[in-house]
């Protein structure tokens, strides 16, 4: 059962990282793509020109990265440091340190702060404008119940997913204590959490091929909307083989989202209508990260083995940038409307 046509996986970027890709993100201002990797590097690509624009070497594997503006960004490194990277001058400086590897980093445009989560069971907020030196730039440290695994921001809301299936929802304006303390609806370890672009909730994926759709609204009506669904599974011989769901990426315009799993598939879902919109052809190996470009026309897919089965031979790490067809991401309402005239 092999399809004769070449798989339409999108355009593969030249000079990819030489080791596992931990995250990739599109800029909010251009089609630049920031990629962090286990090869201790952060790379900046111009996705539309398929060109490598910059590279920063770190002291350890880089577990996450994000843009500040189009000319600078931040990285979370396994050598416990949080760094600020200035692309134009190829300069980097250490914003501060955690006590353990830093797992994830986010930049809040609202508060102008960098938020990092680490395996030292803390969340730290940084002011990147402060002069270099931890004392000046550190805004606050917030203890978490467990090691932080994933962060996501929308507006002033910050969702922190940790080991032990804890989920804390913060209001960035009052970080002294969580706005909500929750436990994941899924029974297995959290892999990824991403807020809805409309700010009403978040999607959370687990290692057991499931995604939960959650809502911030704690009223009964609000909570009645939440649900979870299975994905990234393979039925074989009457059994499901279940793969971890590593990545979730929301489409910036339609609010639909793509999930990527260790099965190498990227699925696009319509959360409101509870439909799967599209499944892309299989990628060579696990999907480690996903990111839509600012206008949602491009989808960057990191096809990179995520060590779910330990050290073993695997396909080379690759970044694919595919142009997204509208039908692939546009919600399909249940009643077929007349096409726009």
């Amino acid at each position: 059962m092999t399809a004769a046509a070449p798989p339409s996986t999108g355009r593969e970027l030249l000079s990819p990282p030489t080791d596992g890709i931990s995250n990739l993100r599109f800029s909010n201002h251009s089609d630049h793509l920031l990629v962090s990797s286990w090869d201790k590097s952060v790379r900046l690509y111009d996705a539309s020109a398929n060109a490598l624009r910059g590279e920063f070497m770190h002291g350890g594997p880089v577990l996450d990265c994000c843009f500040h503006d189009d000319s600078s960004g931040f990285s979370a490194c396994a050598d416990h440091t949080v760094r600020r990277l200035v692309f134009n001058y190829n300069r980097e400086d250490v914003l501060g340190r955690h006590d353990a590897p830093v797992r994830c980093v986010e930049y809040s445009y609202g508060t102008g702060q960098v938020i990092t989560g680490s395996w030292d069971k803390t969340l730290k907020c940084w002011d990147p404008r402060g002069a270099s030196g931890q004392e000046r730039s550190l805004v606050g440290t917030y203890t978490q119940p467990e090691r932080v695994y994933s962060l996501s921001l929308v507006g002033n809301r910050l969702v922190v997913a940790t080991a032990g299936r804890h989920v804390n929802v913060y209001d960035l304006r009052n970080m002294s204590q969580p706005e909500q303390r929750r436990e994941s609806s899924l029974k297995y370890q959290t892999r990824c959490v991403r807020c809805y672009p409309n700010g009403t909730g978040y999607a959370l994926s687990s290692v057991e091929g499931r995604v939960a759709m959650e809502f911030f609204d704690l009223s009964e009506a609000g909570q009645s909307k939440k649900y979870a669904f299975k994905c990234h599974r393979k039925s074989e011989a009457g059994r499901d083989i279940v793969y971890p769901v590593n990545a979730i990426a929301f489409h910036p315009i339609y609010g639909t989202f793509a999930t990527g799993g260790c099965d190498g598939y990227v699925n696009v879902w319509d959360g409101n209508n509870k439909k799967r919109l599209y499944q892309y052809t299989k990628y060579p190996t696990s999907i480690a990260a996903l990111s839509f470009s600012r206008d949602g026309r491009l989808l960057a897919v990191a096809s990179s083995y995520t060590y779910e089965e330990g050290d073993k031979d695997h396909e080379p790490d690759a970044i694919f940038v595919r142009s997204v067809n509208e039908v692939e991401v546009k919600p399909k309402p249940k009643a077929l409307p007349n096409p726009a005239t």
Binding site: A100, Q189, K230, V242, Y243
Partner: protein, 775 residues
């Protein structure tokens, strides 16, 4: 008369004076008058003659003068008196004649000179006049010639020159005026011609600003010619203007139809062509570019029209194909109405605009998508049909699929769905045909299976020592056994014919007759071999029994009779097979036997199929396999409870954990595996390895152990509906489930780690946790 007399008297005096100057005949001079004086003079001395001539000439000229001026006398008197005075002086002086003559001669000479001068002067004057007249005449002639008119002035010889001149001058003035007028006309016409021709040629700088007029030809004819030329040019201009306007109109219509901005297009061609611009350039260039634009737009229109018509055609086809409701069609009526229209007929605004075409295109794409999805549905249905037929004919479905029938390949565009459909149809007809040809043999096979079933039952029945015990339903069993024996006796013949038929079929078709993927002939052969072995075994047993009997008989002879040990052992070992079990069964047994025969065969077949290797490897094993047929049948009849239990027992090796309770039923097995992976690090390493292997399964390396345990409740492969779990592009509903909050189940002392933590070798620094070396 008075004058003459006076003249006479005046003339008398000099003559008398002259006569009195010493000549003898002087008195005659005074009497005869002037002529006489001259004659006197001539007749006398030479000097005297010349003097008189002078006087005479004077007199005549004076006379002439006097006639006009009426003042002759003074002159005459002056001349004569002067002469006489000179005579007197001479007389007084006593001048000699010689000197007198000389003086007179000098005087005469001087007089002559004066005359000659005057005459010359007059002559010159006359010549000038003549010249002037001639010039004027020539000029007149020139002008007339230039004007192309006959000279109005006919030269009159009469009249003096001055008169002539006076006559000719006004004429000349007239003609000059006329000529100037004409020149003005010419200039005007030429100017117009120039301006029009510059407009036509389109050269912006006015080349021949100065109008050059050919002075030599100012005739009316030429003027008319020029006027004609001007008219022609004006006509041409008009035509051009009309042409431009026409073209503009055409362009406007085109732009309207194509949904383009007319003004923008026109300004692009030539800025003066804009509507707001009153003066339109009508030179060749803009017209050319205009017509080029028009032809280009026409091309575009034609192209778009074709495209639209293509789209409309496909649209109509798709409508027809899918019975699209009329109201949906109505929206694209304006698209389809162009389907047969000629290019000139499409005039509706925006009917060929890009937007319009794009709309139509998106509709077509939508329809096509719908079509493909429908085709896919049909494909799936057809596939089901095909599989059903295959199943009924006990053919292997996979074998029939020469081509790739997956929906993925359709989506990737490798195969066109219609081609696939055709292929599938072909397959179905082929399979039907084959199924028909197999029918006869299959019936025989069916019978054979039924017979084998009976044989098995009979064998079991025969083994039951209590079979003859009186009880409920025993008579039915007896009857059945009787029938079974008859059937079993027929088996060899049945097998022979079956084999023959199958071989004939194979010969005819030149392919092996496969029954659910297993060669029928080999099946029959195996069966025969098996039977033969069984027969041998039975023979051996019989011999043994006989031997035992003999031994027993001998022992009996020695020690007396004893109960048979073998019988009592059998009794204990098989308490329920024939008796109670069959009894309970027996009420509906006959019926069940018939209805379940097929099912049972199926079950046994699936077993056969699933491990044919096993079957062929050892006959003993297959013997037990055959035995299992019946037990398998029972399994199916007892329902899924047993399956579940087997499933449960299967997952037993993964060690029960408190976490498992929370599992959803669907993914119970695999999620168990994962949970094992994360929770059971500290359990036995062997166990961990085991689960680890299972976790790796995506590469389809399912361990054989699992397969064997699963075979029992796995749906046989011949069963249809291998519907791809995830058809791409077709939006599928999520497998959702509401997730109530469940209290987290955490195991103290053990830590979960994410993949990243494991890879980074990150270990929680906790004293009571056992450090894990994962990397």
């Amino acid at each position: 008369m008075l004058i003459l007399s006076r003249h006479q008297t005046s003339a008398n005096s000099p003559t008398s004076s002259g006569g009195s100057t010493g000549r003898s005949d002087q008195g005659n001079v005074f009497q005869s008058g002037l002529v006489d004086v001259v004659c006197f003079l001539e007749g006398g001395v030479g000097i005297g003659g010349s003097l008189t001539a002078i006087a005479h000439s004077w007199c005549s000229s004076l006379q002439e003068y006097n006639l006009r001026t009426d003042q002759p006398l003074e002159m005459e008197t002056t001349c004569g008196s002067l002469l006489s005075e000179l005579q007197k002086i001479w007389d007084e002086v006593g001048e000699v004649d010689k000197i007198r003559d000389k003086m007179l001669f000098e005087l005469e000479q001087e007089c002559l000179d004066a005359y000659r001068r005057k005459v010359d002067q007059a002559n010159r004057c006359r010549a000038q006049l003549r010249q002037a007249v001639a010039d004027a005449e020539a000029q007149l002639a020139d002008i007339c010639a230039a004007l192309g008119e006959r000279p109005a002035h006919i030269k009159k010889s009469s009249g003096s020159l001055k008169k002539e001149l006076q006559e000719i001058m006004p004429q000349l003035e007239d003609m000059k005026k006329k000529r100037n007028e004409r020149k003005g006309q010419f200039a005007e016409v030429l100017k117009q011609i120039n301006s029009i021709s510059t407009e036509l040629s389109g050269s912006t700088e006015e080349n021949f600003n100065t109008v050059v007029i050919d002075e030599s030809d100012l005739s009316m004819k030429r003027l008319d010619d020029l006027r004609n030329q001007l008219l022609l040019l004006q006509e041409e201009k008009g035509e051009r203007l009309k042409q431009v306007l026409d073209q503009l109109n055409v362009l406007k219509a085109l732009c309207l139809v194509l949904g383009m901005d007319f003004k923008l297009t026109v300004c692009g061609v030539h800025p003066t062509l804009d509507d707001s611009c009153c003066v339109k350039s009508i030179s060749v260039d803009p017209i050319k570019s205009l017509s080029a634009t028009i032809s280009r737009l026409k091309d575009v229109k034609l192209q778009r029209m074709r495209r639209l018509q293509d789209l409309a055609m496909t649209m109509v086809e798709l409508w027809n194909l899918m019975d699209t409701p009329a109201e949906e069609q109505l929206m694209f009526q304006n698209v389809t109405c162009t389907i047969a229209a000629a290019e000139s007929e499409i005039t509706e605004p925006n009917s060929l605009s890009l937007e319009f075409i794009n709309n139509a295109e998106t509709e077509v794409i939508r329809l096509q998508e719908m079509k493909t999805s429908k085709i896919k549905e049909v494909l799936l249905k057809k596939r089901l049909v095909l599989e059903e037929i295959c199943r009924e004919a006990h053919m292997v479905v996979e074998r029939q699929f020469g081509t790739d029938f997956s929906l993925e390949s359709i989506d990737s565009g490798a195969i066109s769905p219609s081609f696939l459909l055709e292929q599938l149809e072909n397959q179905i007809s082929k399979v039907k045909e084959e199924a028909f040809s197999r029918k006869e043999i299959l019936e025989k096979v069916q019978k054979w299976f039924a017979a084998r079933e009976e044989e098995c039952w009979l064998e079991e029945y025969n083994r039951d020592d209590n079979r003859y015990n009186a009880g409920r339903g025993t008579h039915l069993m007896l009857k059945r056994a009787e029938k079974a024996r008859v059937v079993v006796n027929k088996i060899p013949a049945m097998v022979d014919t079956l084999k023959l038929k199958a071989k004939a079929w194979e010969k005819e078709r030149k392919i092996e007759f496969l029954y659910d993927g297993v060669g029928l002939v080999s099946m029959v052969d195996q069966y025969c071999e098996l039977k033969h072995l069984k027969e041998q075994e039975r023979q051996r047993q019989r011999d043994q029994k006989k031997l035992q009997g003999q031994l027993l008989a001998e022992q009996e002879a020695i020690y007396g009779s004893k109960p048979s040990p073998s019988k009592s052992g059998n009794k204990n070992a098989r308490p329920s097979t024939g008796g109670a079990g069959n009894k309970r069964f027996s009420l509906g047994g006959a019926m069940l036997q018939n209805t379940l025969a097929d099912k049972a065969a199926l079950a046994s077949r699936s077993l056969l199929k699933n491990n044919p290797v096993k079957r062929q490897s050892s006959h003993n094993h297959s013997n037990s396999g055959l035995m299992a047929h019946s037990s398998g049948k029972k399994n199916t009849s007892t329902g899924p409870v047993k399956h579940r239990s087997s499933n449960a027992s299967n997952s037993q090796h993964a060690e029960p954990l408190p976490l498992r309770k929370a599992l959803s039923p669907l993914s119970s097995l695999s999620s168990n595996i994962i949970s094992c992976n994360f929770q059971d690090h500290n359990t036995k390493s062997g166990d961990f390895q085991d689960t680890h292997i299972v976790c790796k399964t995506p590469a389809a390396t399912t361990p054989t152990k699992n397969v064997s345990t699963h075979d029992e409740n796995r749906t046989p492969k011949t069963m249809p509906i291998p519907v791809p779990a995830t058809p791409p592009t077709v939006s599928a509903a999520m497998q959702t489930a509401t997730t109530p909050f469940t209290p987290g189940v955490r195991i103290a002392g053990e830590f979960e780690y994410s993949f990243e933590e494991k890879r980074a070798g990150f270990v929680l620094p906790r004293s009571h946790s056992k450090p894990l070396q994962l990397v």
